[in-house]
Subunit: 281 residues, 2 copies
């Protein structure tokens, strides 16, 4: 199989794997964490992708969210990819900032030098990795859901909006609702894609919805005590875009919750049940 096993641990009756493989798209080795539930011993099961936020690797969601217990009950494979290419020769933010470069791939295909060679997380997640997963894992690729946190919430929404057939269930935790309209997104898009803002629209959930893209429905949780709420995340922009377009959205403002994994751990069960209902038994 195309994945090399870095580690595996029994967890909640299933198995938590960390895999490594050489990526054609990023030109680097990539890691991903995969939880395989007990139901996969007897047949293919649905898949839920979790895209992580700035600074994260495949590990954060896997060790902090407590998602395996629910995935084991519902019979879901969970896949947590890394958030950027890494390794020798992969360019990083010149000042080593946390919000660009390593750990901050923004789920796009960079077009600008020196980023364009390695920063191809969009194609990696749209084409390469699903192909490898379908080949290597007991995954029913006709039943995929996607969710993510912060930058990964942006990734989940934009991947799903650009490819409406692929995901039957879509949700997000504190997503960057409109990268075109916040400092994190403006910095990333300027450097990865260049100054032409019209080229940014395919990486902006609000712009995609405005342009006619649709999802079956959408669940978003956002903590009211999240320090990035007003400056970076801006869920009201998503709410307004959905309202204007008639896009169904369940936006839950969660009182007192912040941007940490304690927030994700609190609501991951709701999200996985939302996904399981839409992915079918």
């Amino acid at each position: 199989m195309s994945f090399e096993t870095v580690s595996q641990s029994r967890c909640c009756g299933g198995t938590q794997f960390v895999y490594r493989h050489d990526s054609r798209e990023t030109g680097t080795p990539m890691r991903l964490a995969v939880f395989v539930p007990p139901q996969a011993e007897t047949g293919k099961v649905p898949v839920v992708w979790f895209l992580s936020g700035l600074t994260c690797t495949e590990e954060n969601f896997t060790v902090k969210a407590g998602a395996q217990r629910v995935a084991a009950e519902l019979g879901l494979i969970l896949i947590a990819p890394d958030t950027s290419p890494r390794g020798e020769g992969v360019p990083d933010d010149p000042e080593g900032a946390y919000d660009f470069g390593l750990g901050a791939g923004f789920y796009l295909d960079a077009t600008e030098a020196p980023w364009a060679r390695n920063y191809r997380m969009r194609s990696y997640l749209e084409r390469e990795l699903p192909g490898l997963v379908a080949e290597a894992l007991p995954a029913d690729m006709t039943r995929q859901g996607i969710t993510g946190h912060s930058m990964g919430g942006h990734g989940a929404l934009t991947l799903a909006l650009r490819d409406p057939g692929r995901f039957k269930a879509i949700s997000a935790f504190a997503p960057i609702a409109s990268p075109m309209n916040c400092p994190w997104g403006e910095k990333a898009l300027t450097h990865y894609i260049g100054p032409d803002r019209s080229a940014w629209r395919e990486y902006d959930a609000c712009a995609l919805i405005e342009g006619g893209a649709r999802l079956p429905d959408l669940l978003v949780d956002q903590g009211t005590a999240d320090g990035f709420l007003d400056s970076q995340l801006k869920p009201r922009l998503l709410e307004e875009a959905c309202a204007r377009a008639g896009q169904p959205l369940t936006l839950r403002m969660q009182d007192g919750y912040d941007h940490s994994y304690f927030f994700i751990a609190t609501f991951i069960e709701d999200h996985l049940r939302w996904h399981a209902e839409r992915l079918g038994p």
Copy 2:
């Protein structure tokens, strides 16, 4: 209050705190993680202590075990102390080994130089910290349970065995069953307590049980794929000591589980329910 708040996050309807305070016993600042469940808003609630293993701080259990969800349901305060004193002037293993010194206090009061000044985790957990907790938190100190992992399982068992009135519920995950009879324990006890093995007995669960100490009952989970099972943990020594002494023990060998927090995350719910049953509503 005696605790300074380092961080706090809403989690599962309660609040996850990290506190800092100056310890009289260790002569250093100490941190602890405390989860306060929603039930504490209207009255005092029982407390479950979790003692962590080698290399850990107050953080590992707090972010990796997924315990808050169950504690919020059952109405339990969870307290995860650090595993050793830390900071400038605190002596560490001369070779920086992971199994002695910083992160490896072994829940004892050292008597040997240079360890005796700071390495006083026993008195810290037997006297100082419970006093501070009783003063600062909505904790019903007549209803305490204790559990822990690996070195912390050893800590939980020996603290409870030496003070039979204090804890109404005791359990452990992959505890070091007999520090006198494994390399981790022999190294720690030799350096912290000195070469006289008779002085080691108060830090050995099997020796304490052999000497007449008793617990109401005891739940122990141990993974069969734990890489430290035969060399360090040796649950059969505990099983034999309990059998000889008539000490009730539920030892569950969990097929295929290793020594990681994926093992703890899998069985923490069982343990917290065991504690809640014994601590009362």
